[in-house]
Symmetry: C2
Subunit: 293 residues, 2 copies
DNA sequence: AGTCATTCGTGCATTATTGCACGGGTATTT
DNA sequence: AAATACCCGTGCAATAATGCACGAATGACT
């Protein structure tokens, strides 16, 4: 009888292109992967991978079964969620994926009450910037800043996210000189707020991380567009918002989970708690607590 | 990481209603099944079966995941077929499901040439009367007497099956007496040929097996409707067909396999061989070689 | 040319899984 | 009431799978 678990190994190798990297994803030793693929090929009399110096490359036969393997994987993910959803206990683990800043400034300071209240639930905060795969149960709850939540996920929009243009008190805008701006690395063409308010500018710094951007503003490099909650919550005396009329972004703060887990006790409890603590910070996130220049 | 193979065990228990019977289906020891189910329940924090005296009974949670488990199973069967289809070697095994009589009288006497020609292919004849599941690869090729082949299966109709009414030479139809008939056990109401030709009859014997029916005719119990190829191929001097005008049945002799295996070398070769030896017996199966009374 | 980082396979020790054999329970049969 | 035929769980030994450590091969980089 064919071991259905074989296809998990097959997919990992097919996706990662090498036995070694597949093994780290699977959390096993590379020799295990190597041997299981070899056994699989022998059992079915089909060569699935070409052994190249650079790694394993799918053969035509492997290409033929790849899509079906993906189907099987997605069904297994669905099964995992369904099983997890049946677990009615208020114990076990919950994985929460959340952006770094939100975790630090809006959630962690107020979250302890939840872990105190539920000693048998262990929370994992996954602050990786990449959106985790809630289908594959890499995360159970996602706290996200996004315009629209992805389909398959259900949740509540808790606040409209507001941005402001901030600068440090030290920074002086000089007359008849272009203003210094800090932009995202990927903003190769000037975004709308730059065109509207600062047509005459120079880009003094490019960053790809919010913390760096914030630090740059604080150090007086120039002006930058930052979510209001970040400087406002820190009660930073040194940084002020500019009183500009900005087009409000359509982004919002969402607490999301997979639809399958909607009724799961511990997920419900955790989402409800997150709703509560984030709703108390609505004004902050919507930029109503800013100190202006 | 969840072991995808768990669901194979889950399904076997869910279907068979006990750990022990599931274990025989899976071909492992019952304690293995028992322990794997227990581990699964522990891992997911869900009780899947109620332990009753009579065996294991699905809980509500298990009912919830049952359909999805079936989906996963069917995908895995598809995968098995796809993998098997990739095997281009003329070696390995082929499972052929075939009715008992056809195997004995029409195939086995002429099949040896194939095994001689392909020493690396091992053939399993599965003469079980039940139609094997070609989706699950319980069998690769089915030789079947049927009006229409099931969907998903592809194949060729090699001959129209003809039946005749047979009796032994010893049996004497007595004037003004009802004729003695041998019928199937399930024929509670008289079939068409009885109404048409023998309205005045008595059922002397009921059988549920073709060999028994044949033996009964041979022993002179009375008349019976039998596929012509059976008495005709045996060159039985003692049994004769009655010269009756029968409505020809729409059944045919089919050699079938799953569409996925259409291009598989060893299946192609085997089907072609079966076509050949069965086509040579067309006249026999279509009842053109009968000796009449 | 030599160093380093990657890739992979393989022998051997460790660990995990499985099979076996037993015992205990309940229902059915004799 | 005893015998039989099922269920199932569990300790222990056999077996299978895995991890570890090593060596070899290749390509990139110094």
């Amino acid at each position: 009888m064919t071991d259905w678990d074989d296809f998990r190994y097959f997919l990992a190798v097919a996706r990662n292109g090498s036995v070694t990297s597949a093994s780290t994803v699977l959390g096993v030793n590379h020799s295990t992967v190597s041997r299981r693929i070899a056994a699989m090929e022998k059992k079915h009399g089909v060569r699935l991978f070409e052994r190249l110096i650079s790694g394993y490359e799918m053969t035509a036969a492997a290409e033929n079964i790849y899509q079906l393997a993906l189907d099987i994987e997605s069904k297994n993910h669905e099964m995992q969620r369904l099983l997890f959803a049946q677990d009615s206990r208020l114990q076990g683990s919950i994985n929460i994926t959340i952006p770094h800043d939100l975790a630090n400034y809006c959630v962690l300071p107020y979250f302890k009450a939840f872990t105190d209240q539920h000693p048998d639930i262990s929370i994992n905060f996954i602050v990786s910037p990449s959106l985790k795969d809630l289908n594959a149960r890499e995360a159970d709850i996602a706290v996200r800043l996004t315009p629209e939540p992805p389909e398959n996920l259900v949740g509540k929009k808790l606040a409209k996210l507001r941005h402001g243009i901030y600068q440090s008190k030290q920074y002086q805008v000089k007359e008849n000189k272009p203003v210094d701006l800090i932009l995202w690395k990927h903003e190769t063409t000037p975004p709308k707020w730059v065109k509207d308010h600062f047509p005459d500018h120079r880009v003094v710094l490019r960053v790809d991380d919010m913390a760096s951007k914030y630090a740059a503003v604080k150090a007086g490099y120039g002006l930058a567009r930052i979510p209001c909650y970040l400087p406002d919550t820190l009660n930073e005396q040194n940084i002020r918002r500019l009183p500009l009329d900005m087009v409000p972004s359509d982004w919002g703060l969402w607490v999301l989970s997979h639809a399958d887990l909607r009724q799961t006790a511990r997920i419900k409890a955790c989402k409800a708690f997150l709703h509560q603590i984030l709703q108390e910070q609505t004004d902050l996130i919507e930029g109503k607590l800013s100190s202006y220049l």
